[in-house]
Symmetry: C2
C-alpha cells in the first residue's frame, strides 16, 4: 500500500507514520536500551529523547562504542541557506548543542549554499550568500562552543571539499542516485552530483587528521537518504560508517496534514528565529491548528485533543518542564484548559525561547570570524 | 549509415572521415575566406592551418570580429593529467603558442585533474596529482608567455571554479548530458557533473573582469561536445558564445585504423615528450605503419602511399618546411624514397623537436610558480 506521506530531502508532506518511516528507511528506533546506555555518559537525557522527538538512528551504537573506549567522535550537521531560520531548523541544532556539551566534542557545520541554488529554480547565488550570512548568526546563537565548532560554506571551502566529493561521486552511479532520491532525467546534473558534497564532512576529520574518526549526524529524518549514500561509499573509501540520530519534523502552524513540516516558504504559518513577540502571538493565535471543540460548552464537556493540536505539539518541542507539559496535556484533554489559553502558553514559551536566542544572535555578529573554518 | 569511427571526449577510434565529422558535430570548416581574414592579422599562417591540421571551428569569426574592433580575446585550453604528455597532446598547444604570440593574448590553461580520476576506474587522485606536476613542465616548455599564461588544477582552484560550475550545471539536465555524451545510468554522478567544470574557464575572465570577454579554445575535435554544452548554457547566463578552433588527431604509430589517436595507455606505439632519441628511433622503426610496398623492387617500381604512411603523417605535424615536405611526399609516392629512409627523416624531425622541448622542460622546473594561478 502506498504511503499518503512523502519524505525526501526536498519534500516532506502528509501525516507521517513514523513507525512506517523507520521500516521504509531501514533505520532503527532509538530504543530504551540504547537510551540507558547513552544516559550513563550524559547523566540525564535531553527531553527530545524522552519525548521521542529524536526517535531513530543508524549506527548510534558505534558512537557509544567509541565513547566507551575513551575515544572522541565528532558532530556534523548543516543548514541549506534558502531563507530565514525558523523553529523547525533549530530543533536538531538544540540537540547538537546538548551533545557537544555532554561529550565535549567538535562540530562541523556545513552550509551547502549550492544545494538550494541547484534545487530551486528561482534562487540566485547572491541570495544564498545573503541567507548564509544571516543563518550563520542563528547558528552561532545556539551557543555552540566556539573553540570546537567550525562553520563553512561549500562554495567557499570547495578547495577542501570538491576533490573528496569527486572520490565519493566516483562510487555512485546515476542509477543509484535515481533510486535513492527519485531523480529523473529532467533533474539537472548539479542536483545529481550534490549528494557527494553532503557526504564529505562525514569523512573530513578522518582525512585531515589521518586517523579514523567517527562521525555522528543529528538531523531531521528527511536527510537520511544522503547518509545512506555516504555509508554505501564509506567502506569503499576506507572510512568508518557514519552514524545519524534522527528527529521528527516540527509541523507548520496548520499541521502536518495540511502543510507538512514547517517551511520558510510559507511565511504566515512559520515562526522565524527573528520574529517579534507580537508576530509570534499573532501567527499562533490566527493559524495554529487546534484540537479544541467547536464550542466552549462542548470543549468543557468533552475535552480537546492535544495529539492533533499544533500549539501543544510545539510545547513538546520547546517546553522543557515535563511535569508542566503533562499537566497541560491532561488539562486540555479534560477540557479545563481552553484552546485560547493553550495558545497563550505556547506563545509565552516560544517568545521566552526566542528572546534568549535573539539576544545571543545580536552578540553573534562579532563572533562570526571565530566560527568560520579557514579554507 | 552508422559511422565506423567514434569520436567522444573519452574515445577516439576508427578511420575518421573528417568531412562527415564536421557535419555530425555541426561545426564549420575553416574555409579559405576565414583563413585569409585571419592572415591579415597574423601576417602569415601557421602550417597547421595550411595543412588543414586545424580544419574546423565554431564561432571563430566572432573572435576575428573582436580583433577587428581592437578588442582582446583570450585563449583557453587544457590537459587532463592521466599519464605522460605525448606528441598528440602537444599539437593544440603548439597552435595555442602561435596564437598567443600573434595576438599577444592571455591563456587560461586548465588541468582538470578530477576528470581522468572520475572516468578512469583505476586512477587515484595521487596519480593525477603526480601527472599534473609532470605535465605542467611540458606545458611550460611549450614557450607560453609567463606574463600572460595561467595554469590551474580544478581541485586546487575549486573555490574559484565550483560555484560557477554549479551555475552551469543548473542549466543542464541529465537528459541533455546523456544525449550529448552518450552517458547511461551506469555512469557515475561525477562523470555527469564534470562537463560543467570544463565550461567555467570559458566564462571566467568575463566573470572576474566584470565585462564581456571572448574566449577561443584551440583543441582536438573530440572536446567539442563539452563546448556545445558551454554554448547551450552561455546565453542563459549572459555570457558570449565560446569559439573553438579544432584539430585533427595525431594517430598512434600503428595508424588510426588500428589504434585510433595517439594514446598514453599504449606505451610502445606512443612517442612521449620525454622519450630519448633512441626510444623515438626504435618506436618509429619498429611500429610506424608503413605505406611502402612489400619488396624493395615493388616499391621502386610502384611507389609508396604517403597518405596512409604514419611516418609521413607525423612529418605533416612536425616538419615546418612545406617545400621539403612536398618533396618527401613526391619522392615516396614515386618510389625514390624508401620506407626506411622516410622513417629516418621522421625520427630526425621529431628528435630535433623533442631536443628543444626537453631543454625547455628542464628549465621549466624553476618557472612553475610563475605560471600557476593564485587561487
Amino acid at each position: 500500500m502506498a504511503n499518503d506521506f512523502t519524505v525526501t530531502p526536498w519534500e516532506v508532506s502528509g501525516e507521517i507514520d513514523y513507525d512506517s518511516l523507520i521500516r521504509e528507511f531501514g533505520v532503527k528506533p532509538l530504543d530504551d536500551k540504547l537510551l540507558e546506555r547513552l544516559e550513563k555518559h550524559t547523566k540525564g537525557l535531553h527531553y527530545f529523547l524522552k519525548r521521542k522527538i529524536f526517535f531513530a538512528h543508524t549506527y548510534f551504537d558505534t558512537i557509544l562504542d567509541q565513547v566507551e573506549k575513551g575515544k572522541k567522535f565528532y558532530l556534523y550537521t548543516g543548514r541549506a541557506p534558502s531563507g530565514p531560520v525558523h523553529l523547525g531548523h533549530m530543533v536538531p541544532w538544540m540537540f547538537c548543542k546538548w551533545l557537544q556539551d555532554k561529550f565535549n566534542v567538535n562540530l562541523l557545520f556545513q552550509i551547502p549554499d549550492e544545494e538550494k541554488f541547484l534545487f530551486n529554480e528561482n534562487l540566485t547565488m547572491e541570495e544564498t550568500k545573503k541567507w548564509s550570512d544571516e543563518n550563520i548568526l542563528d547558528i552561532i546563537a545556539m551557543g555552540f562552543n566556539p573553540k570546537k565548532t567550525k562553520i563553512f560554506l561549500d562554495t567557499e571551502c570547495a578547495n577542501l571539499m570538491y576533490r573528496h566529493a569527486c572520490s565519493v561521486a566516483k562510487k555512485i552511479t546515476l542509477s543509484t542516485a535515481k533510486s535513492t532520491f527519485g531523480f529523473t532525467d529532467s533533474n539537472n546534473i548539479g542536483e545529481v552530483f550534490y549528494t557527494s558534497m553532503q557526504s564529505v564532512p562525514a569523512f573530513l576529520p578522518t582525512i585531515l587528521e589521518g586517523k579514523t574518526t567517527y562521525c555522528l549526524i543529528p538531523c531531521a529524518i528527511d536527510q537520511q537518504p544522503h547518509f545512506f549514500m555516504t555509508n554505501d561509499v564509506a567502506p569503499k573509501l576506507g572510512y568508518p560508517k557514519t552514524a545519524t540520530i534522527l528527529s521528527r519534523f516540527l509541523p507548520g502552524l496548520q499541521g502536518m496534514h495540511k502543510e507538512g513540516k514547517m517551511s520558510s516558504s510559507i511565511e504566515s504559518t512559520t515562526i522565524f528565529a527573528t520574529d517579534t513577540p507580537r508576530q509570534v502571538h499573532d501567527k499562533i493565535m490566527k493559524y495554529a491548528f487546534s484540537g479544541g471543540r467547536d464550542t466552549l460548552e462542548e470543549h468543557r464537556k468533552l475535552g480537546g485533543n492535544p495529539d492533533v493540536d499544533v500549539s501543544y505539539q510545539y510545547l513538546t518541542f520547546f517546553l522543557e518542564d515535563s511535569k508542566k507539559l503533562e499537566q497541560i496535556y491532561n488539562d486540555y484533554k479534560s477540557g479545563t484548559l481552553l484552546t485560547g489559553d493553550l495558545k497563550k502558553l505556547t506563545v509565552d514559551t516560544i517568545n521566552k525561547f526566542l528572546k534568549k536566542h535573539q539576544a545571543r544572535r545580536q552578540k553573534a555578529k562579532k563572533m562570526v570570524r571565530k566560527f568560520m573554518l579557514k579554507c
